[in-house]
Symmetry: C2
C-alpha cells in the first residue's frame, strides 16, 4: 500500500522526538557527553539499531562500533546510497551535531518504506561512532574503517585514563580483528550523503534553511614564536624596543587581512601568550598559534606563502626573531559535483522557495573520510548563531524538517537519475 510522503513539518516533529530519544544517553548526567565506546555510546548504538529496524532496515553494530542499517534494492547486493553521520559527541556538547544526520537517515528510510517507494539501489543508514576525536587521538576512525584506511596504531592509543582503545572496543562489544573486513569496495557505495548543522553563522545570516557544501576546507595550523628583547616598561624608549608583543599583534592583524583577501578563507589566532606577561615588562617573546583554512588547496598554499612573507617582513623590520612551526595540515576535500547537483535538484523538488546556497565547510566531518571511498556530499542546516560543541547549540524543528525533506527528495532524484 502506497501513501504520500510526510511533509517537512511532520519530519521535523519526528526528528525532534527521535533526538529526544537518542539524547537520553549520556556519560555525564545533566550534560550531553557521549564519547566513543563509552557505556552511553553503547546504549545510543542499541537505540539507533532499534530505530533502524523499525524503519525497515536490517541493522547491526559493526566491529568498530558504528551502527549500519541496510535495505536492499530490487536485487540483493546492489550498490547503495548511504546516509549517515555520527552519534558520538564532545564533552558537554549539543543535541544536533552528528545526531541530526543519523536521525535524518532513519526518517528517510522510514518515509520511503511507509510510502512503499522502491528504489533502484540499496539504501543504507550509518551512525559512525568516532568523529569528534575527544576520547582517543584518532582521526575519523569509524568512517575510515569503511574506507579501508583504518590505522591499526589507533588500536593501541589510550584515553586520558590510560584505557587502550583496543580494550575499550572489546568491552563495547566490538571486534578489533574484524575492522579490516569493514572496508567497502568503492563501487559498492553509489553516494554518501550527510546532513549536518552548519556549526557556523552563514545560513542564519543569509536567511537560508539549508546549504550545499562545496568542499571541506583545506586547513593548516602552526605554532609561531616571536622573540624580541624583554625590557622595563618605563625605561626602554620606544625607538630602542624590540617588543615581541607588538610584532605578534601586527602578525595577527596581517593574518586577518590575508584571510579576508581570499574568498571563503578564514584565519585565526586563538592562542597568544606573552613572556613574561607582566604589566611593567616589555614582552621579550610571544607564542601564538595560527589556523587558516580555504576550500581550495591552491588558496591555502598561497595564504601560507603570504603569511611567511608578511610575518618575515614584520620580524625583519622590528628586529625580532621568528619561527613558524606547522603541526597539522589537511588537504581540501571537494564534495562530488553530481551529488551537489542532486542536492540542488532535491531542494527544487520540494517545490518551496528554498535557495540552494553553496558554502564550504570549515570543520571536518565523516564525509572527509568517505570522499576517499565514494562520491560524497553534505547538506548543511541553519543553526542558532552558529554555536556548536556547546549545550547552547540550537536549531528549529522546522529547519530539521526542511533538511530531511530535501534529503528525501535527493534520494528520489538519485533514483530518477538511475532509472
Amino acid at each position: 500500500m502506497t501513501q504520500t510522503l510526510p511533509s517537512a513539518a511532520v519530519l521535523g516533529a519526528r526528528a525532534f522526538a527521535a533526538l529526544d530519544g537518542l539524547n537520553r544517553f549520556t556519560d555525564e548526567p545533566g550534560k550531553l557527553t557521549r564519547l566513543y565506546l563509552s557505556p552511553a555510546h553503547r546504549q545510543a548504538a542499541e537505540w539507533t539499531r532499534g530505530a533502524m529496524e523499525v524503519a525497515g532496515l536490517s541493522a547491526f553494530i559493526d566491529a568498530a562500533g558504528s551502527v549500519q542499517g541496510r535495505r536492499e534494492g530490487p536485487t540483493p547486493g546492489l550498490p547503495a546510497v548511504m546516509i549517515g553521520s555520527h552519534i558520538d559527541t564532545v564533552k558537554d556538547g549539543g543535541r544536533f551535531d552528528g545526531n541530526l544526520g543519523v536521525v535524518a537517515g532513519v526518517l528517510v528510510a522510514q518515509a520511503l518504506r511507509d510510502a512503499g517507494i522502491a528504489l533502484p539501489f540499496a539504501l543504507e543508514v550509518i551512525a559512525f561512532g568516532d568523529e569528534e576525536t575527544v576520547r582517543f587521538p584518532t582521526s575519523l576512525s569509524t568512517s575510515s574503517a569503511l574506507v579501508g584506511r583504518y590505522d591499526p596504531a589507533w588500536l593501541d592509543s589510550r584515553d586520558s585514563d590510560g584505557v587502550v582503545l583496543r580494550d575499550a572496543l572489546v568491552a563495547f562489544g566490538g571486534d578489533p580483528a574484524g575492522i579490516a573486513a569493514l572496508a567497502r569496495k568503492p563501487d559498492s557505495i553509489r553516494a554518501y550523503l550527510e546532513v549536518h548543522i552548519e556549526q557556523g553563522p552563514v545560513l542564519e545570516t543569509e536567511n537560508e534553511a539549508v546549504g550545499i557544501v562545496t568542499a571541506i576546507n583545506a586547513q593548516k595550523r602552526a605554532r609561531v614564536r616571536v622573540t624580541g628583547e624583554a625590557g622595563h616598561a618605563g625605561t626602554v624608549p620606544m625607538r630602542l624596543r624590540r617588543d615581541a608583543l607588538a610584532a605578534a599583534a601586527e602578525m595577527a592583524l596581517a593574518l586577518e587581512a590575508i584571510a579576508a583577501g581570499h574568498e571563503q578563507a578564514v584565519g585565526t589566532v586563538g592562542v597568544f601568550q606573552p613572556d613574561p606577561g607582566a604589566t611593567n615588562v616589555v614582552p621579550g617573546a610571544v607564542d601564538f598559534t595560527i589556523d587558516f583554512r580555504s576550500p581550495h588547496n591552491a588558496t591555502l598554499a598561497e595564504m601560507d606563502r603570504q603569511i611567511g612573507e608578511c610575518f618575515g617582513e614584520i620580524a625583519a623590520r622590528r628586529g625580532v626573531a621568528l619561527s613558524i612551526t606547522p603541526y597539522s595540515q589537511d588537504e581540501a576535500t571537494p564534495m562530488a559535483e553530481p551529488l551537489q547537483a542532486a542536492l540542488a535538484a532535491g531542494i527544487a523538488r520540494t517545490g518551496s522557495n528554498l535557495g540552494a546556497r553553496r558554502l564550504p565547510s570549515g570543520a571536518g566531518h565523516d564525509a572527509m573520510a568517505m570522499a576517499k571511498l565514494c562520491p560524497s556530499a553534505m547538506l548543511f542546516v541553519r543553526c542558532e548563531k552558529g554555536v556548536s560543541h556547546s549545550p547552547l547549540e540550537n536549531m528549529t524543528e522546522a529547519d530539521a524538517g526542511i533538511a530531511i525533506r530535501v534529503l528525501l527528495e535527493t534520494v528520489l532524484e538519485l533514483a530518477r537519475q538511475e532509472a
Copy 2:
C-alpha cells in the same frame, strides 16, 4: 692636612670594593635578595653605618630602618646637602640598583673628609630601606618618613608570610612610634642628590657614561577588556567575526603608535590573555594591560585621551565591547632645575669631555618622595643593556668612578654657589 681629591678611577675601584662588601648580605644564598627589614637588611644597615662612620659621618639606624649619616657644617644644625639611595633589593636582584647611590654618598663624604675640604652646609648620606615594594605593599615608605608622609596604615600591612610590618620593624630594631619624628623641616635639606643606574638603554646607546634626570615620569596603568564573540575558527567567515584578539592586537599597536608620537613617552602592553585561548576558537574576549608614561603630566593626559578615542574607534568599528579600568596613576616629578644645572656644572668641573645628556626616569625612585620635601635631582649612570632587577644587571667600574666624581664636583659646585 689637605690632599687632592681621588680620581674617577680610584673612586670606581673603591666603589666596586665597597659594593662587594655590602652585597655579601643576602636573604637567599647564591642570589642577591635583601628585602626590607630582613636579617640581611639589618646586617647591610650595620655595614653601612660602619662605612659612614669610617668616612667621617655620625651615623645611626633610624626608627624606620634607614641608615642616616651626617657631618655638620661650620656650625651645627645648618641645612644639609643629602646624598642617598636605597639598600633593599628585589628578589634575585642586581648589585648596583640602589646600592651604588649609597656607596657613592659614602665615598664622596670620605673623599671630602680626606681632602680636608670644609663645606658651607652640612653633608648627609642616607641609605633608605624600602624602595622596591617587594615585601610589603608600601610606597617608598622609608623616604616618605623623612618627608612627613608616612602612612600609618603601612604599619598594619603584611608580607606574603603574614608578618605585620610593625612587628618586622620592631624585630629589626626600629621604632614604629618614632617614625613620625623622622619628618624633616623643608628648610633643613638644601638638596637631595641620588646617583642610580639608569635601568634602561639610553645612555649605553648614546655612548654616555652619565645623564641628568629631568623628571620621574608620570605614569598610568589600566586593565582593558575587549569582548567580541567566540566562534569556531573554521566555520565563522571573516566578515561575520567579532574577533576580540584582532581588536586587542589593533589596540596594542595603537598604543605603540601613540607613545611613539610623544617625545620621551612610552607605552606597553605587558599582559595579554585571550579567552578561551584555544587554537581552533576565535577569541571571544581578551584581557590586557596598558602602562604608559611621560615626563609631563599634560602629555600623559593627552595620551590618555588619545588611547580612549583610538581604542573606542577600534571597538566601534569591529563591533566589540570595550572597558578600560585605570588602577594606578602617578603625577610626574620634575627634578629641581637648579640642581640639574649644578649636576651639569659638576660634569663640566670634571674637565672631561662627558656630555650632560638630559633624560627622564621611567622608573620610580626615592627622589620621587624626597622631591615633595626639598629640591631633588638624580644622576643616572650607564648600565649594561639597560638590564636591572636581575643578576645580569651590570656596569663598569670606570662608569661608577665617573659618576661619583661628578657627584663630588656637584657638591663642590653647590658649596661654591653657597659661598
